[in-house]
């Protein structure tokens, strides 16, 4: 018995991490949907969900329950086995890939030395969920959606891959953690020296996650709902989950590769060290807002519960802020003595990482509220005749710059900016040809 426990010991910590990541991502995804609805609503001069909980905060839970309880319909002519398994593939691929994302220096499920490759490999399995789901439905719209999806994902994966290569060249490693560490070491986020690659990654990421303006596989006004037209209830919610998880995933990859992962902005500038206290400030601000709102509520009885809730939330936020500032000397367990506030130091990486991911996700939602949809041939043209050539040119110039700085001792950022300029020139030429 003890032997069994001992042999399971090495599995325990990863298991715990997996559970934390899984639960965290599920929560983020659920509230991402809420955030999307809210942000879109405010872009569109309306309020969005307001009914379930204060400001509709419990809406995701209500939605989830509704989807779970809905009737699950399998179309008569469908290939039942595939119809059943396809959404599961999508979700599995999206969630498994998170095991390779380094959320903080001390927190990721696993760090493999070919981590990035594995991540891309696993996330590319998600396509099968779409293809097989579209095919198994045995209906025209899903099939067309699946075909569009396939072509789109395969095409943009190439551009995505090339944009990653330039970051890899700079980092000199395929390990996700190593890439962030390389950025810390070089004292600059790769987005600043490889803006073209970052831009291409951003656009390709939108295309890979089927988001507007590249949401053709599920273009509502053309293909009803694309590949998941025939899906309902729980299976539909799986697709939904997979799609949003994929959004978080590509944002995480982009943040890791180009925005310095868990690093705070300008980690090498000492005078910006006060930024380390940003998490505390956020919670304090939250507490202040709660208290202010509670005071502002009308004094009548019907607002009593609202007020209590707000006060409770404010107190909770205050408590969290206090907890973050827990001094080291009362916590011998952390004992290294490096950080004055070990809890804060521990939360630091995750805080910045998620903040950047949310910024990225906000971009996704903003795009959705702003742009019309591309047509299929235009999407392909953009991918093959603009993005991929530019990405390749960018890789070449990036490698050249690296060579110049290594062989001739040029300053690396200067060489890279030169390369970027050259890439932009090429891009302009390509653009002109198209018009």
């Amino acid at each position: 018995m003890t032997l069994l426990i001992e042999s399971l010991q090495p599995l325990l910590i990863p298991l715990l991490r997996i559970i934390i990541v899984f639960a965290g991502i599920s929560l983020i995804v659920a509230y991402l949907v809420y955030a999307e609805r809210k942000i879109l609503a405010h872009l569109q001069v309306r309020l969005g969900p307001m009914r379930v909980g204060p400001h509709g905060l419990l809406q995701p839970i209500a939605d989830g329950l509704k989807l779970l309880l809905k009737e699950d319909i399998i179309p008569a002519g469908a290939d039942k086995w595939l119809f059943w398994i396809a959404p599961a593939i999508s979700v599995l691929a999206a969630f498994t890939a998170f095991s390779l994302v380094p959320f903080a220096p001390n927190f990721c499920v696993t760090d493999v030395n070919v981590g990035l490759l594995f991540l891309i490999g696993i996330s590319s399995l998600g396509i099968f969920g779409i293809i097989l789901g579209g095919w198994a439905s045995n209906s025209h719209y899903p099939l067309l959606g699946a075909l569009r999806s396939t072509a789109q994902l395969v095409s943009y994966e190439v551009a995505l891959g090339f944009s990653l290569v330039s970051a890899l060249l700079l980092a000199g490693t395929l390990s996700m953690k190593g890439i962030v560490e390389a950025q810390a070491q070089q004292g600059i986020w790769f987005a600043f020296v490889q803006p073209v690659a970052f831009f291409i990654l951003f656009v390709a990421a939108i295309a890979e996650t089927n988001r507007n303006p590249f949401d053709l596989p599920e273009a509502e006004s053309e293909l009803v709902a694309g590949f998941h037209t025939e899906y309902s209830g729980f299976r539909f919610s799986l697709y939904f989950l997979a799609e949003y998880a994929a959004m978080v995933l590509v944002s995480s990859v982009a943040v890791t590769l180009f925005l310095g992962g868990w690093l705070r902005p300008f980690p090498s500038w000492q005078w910006l060290d006060f930024l380390d206290y940003a998490p505390v400030a956020v919670f304090l601000a939250g507490a202040a807002w709660c208290f202010w709102e509670a005071v502002r509520l009308p004094g009548t009885r019907e607002w009593r519960w609202q007020r209590l809730l707000l006060l409770g939330l404010g107190a909770g936020a205050l408590a969290v802020a206090a907890g973050l500032m827990f001094p080291a000397r009362f916590l011998p367990a952390f004992g290294e003595g490096q950080a004055a506030f070990p809890v804060l130091a521990a939360i630091q990486g995750v805080f910045w990482f998620l903040l950047k991911v949310f910024l990225f996700l906000f971009g996704f939602i903003w795009f959705r509220g702003t742009f019309p949809r591309y047509r299929f041939d235009q999407l392909m043209n953009l991918g093959w005749r603009f993005m991929i050539p530019v990405a390749i040119v960018n890789v070449i110039f990036c490698a050249l710059a690296l060579g110049l700085s290594r062989q001739l001792g040029w300053s690396l950022p200067a060489a890279l900016w030169l390369g970027t300029g050259a890439t932009l020139l090429v891009a302009m030429l390509l653009r002109r040809e198209e018009v």
Binding site: W81, R368, R373, Q378
Partner: protein
């Protein structure tokens, strides 16, 4: 694993038939389109309509002239005021009567407001079809203001029945002028707002340029009217060609397109909204005082004969052909529906385009199925 009994859709390298509608998000009602596809390319199409057919023309033969007026509101139900204007003027012509100036001025104002409302609805849904989900909320915001004016004027927002044979149903309410002026003042900025979202948006231009091109010859041959005809570059507007209501009193331009594509029709309608605003502002400044109803008698009984009267409805030429046999009911009442005839050009516009363009083309035709099917 059991041997699956899959009946796969025939998707050879040749053709498939794709059925769009009658329940489809972007067929604007119950239009059903059968598309013959080669891959995603359309090589033929057939519109199947009539799902909303209510026999309006038959009803017209069985109602007295005033009784029928509310029915016309329900043909193009997003431009009820225009329908009412056309019908009332047609019957007035049949009677040989004419509405007094004040009535004509108010009719013009309300009809132009209705044109703006109808175009706003079109803009929102058209953008939505092409994937821009935000403009629809902005346009509905402004449309709401117009509907509020209608509601204050006649108590209804959609099927207004605002006019009466011989003039107006109601006198304008207190503050009507101010509210219309306030709307016009704000609306100028709002149009700019829509244009900022779309006009120079690369994707919008790519999605609409050279899509659904209708040459001037084809437009005339297919009987297209309204913005569809003007988008093809023909400067023709019934408000200028055969002025009715009080349009001969006001200055306005008729925008036209150059290439006859979806983008041109978009620009034409955007400019039409501005011109409508211009007309409203001129009209509101010069509303004459006086009676609002001509003396047409309690019982409308036109002498035998027939008349065709048409107006420039938001969607095109809306005509009423009425044959009277001297009784209180029309002997024959024909509505020339602009949507129906504009939709006829659909097949010509859609060939050679992709499925995604079909949606854009349905949107640019600005059809209302209530009017197509009547």
């Amino acid at each position: 694993m059991d041997q699956p009994n899959v009946t796969t859709t025939v998707l050879g390298a040749d053709e498939i038939i794709l059925n769009m509608g009658p329940q489809h998000p972007s067929t604007h009602g119950v239009l059903r389109v059968k598309l013959k596809l080669d891959g995603e390319k359309v090589i033929g199409s057939e519109c199947i309509i009539g799902y909303l057919h209510r026999g309006v023309e038959k009803i017209g033969e069985n109602r007295t002239y005033p009784q029928f007026a509310p029915y016309v509101d329900r043909t193009d139900y997003v431009a009820a005021v225009s329908n009412g204007l056309g019908y009332c003027e047609a019957v007035e012509k049949l009677l040989g009567a004419e509405a007094p100036p004040r009535a004509r001025w108010v009719r013009t104002i309300l009809t132009e407001l209705q044109r703006i409302a109808s175009h706003l609805l079109w803009l929102g849904t058209h953008a939505l079809d092409i994937g821009a989900i935000t403009p629809v909320f902005y346009t509905f915001r402004e449309r709401e203001e117009i509907l509020k004016i209608f509601e204050k004027y006649c108590g209804a927002r959609l099927t207004t029945h605002a006019f009466r044979i011989g003039g107006l149903q109601y006198e304008t309410y207190d503050g009507f002028e101010e509210e219309v002026k306030a709307f016009c003042r704000d609306f100028e900025k709002k149009v700019v707002e829509y244009e900022e979202l779309l006009t120079e948006n690369r994707i919008w231009v790519q999605r609409t340029r050279n899509v659904g091109v209708l040459t001037p010859q084809d437009a005339i041959d297919m009987g297209a009217t309204g913005p569809v005809l003007r988008g093809s570059g023909i400067r023709w507007d019934i408000r200028k060609a055969f002025p009715y209501a009080a349009y001969d009193q006001f200055q306005f331009d008729i925008p036209i397109g150059e290439r006859g594509d979806t983008y041109d029709r978009y620009l034409v309608r955007m400019e039409e909204m501005r011109q409508s605003r211009r007309i409203i502002l001129q009209a509101i400044e010069s509303i004459p005082e006086g009676p609002i109803l001509a003396r047409v008698g309690k019982v409308i009984k036109p002498p035998p004969g027939e008349v065709y009267h048409s107006i420039e409805a938001p969607k095109g030429e809306l005509g009423y052909y009425i044959v009277s046999d001297g009784t209180t009911q029309p002997y024959r009442l024909r509505i020339r529906p602009p949507s129906f005839i504009n939709l006829e050009a659909f097949d010509k516009m859609v060939r050679g385009h992709l499925v995604a363009d079909v949606v854009a083309i349905i949107g640019t035709l600005d059809i209302v199925l209530g009017e197509v099917d009547r």
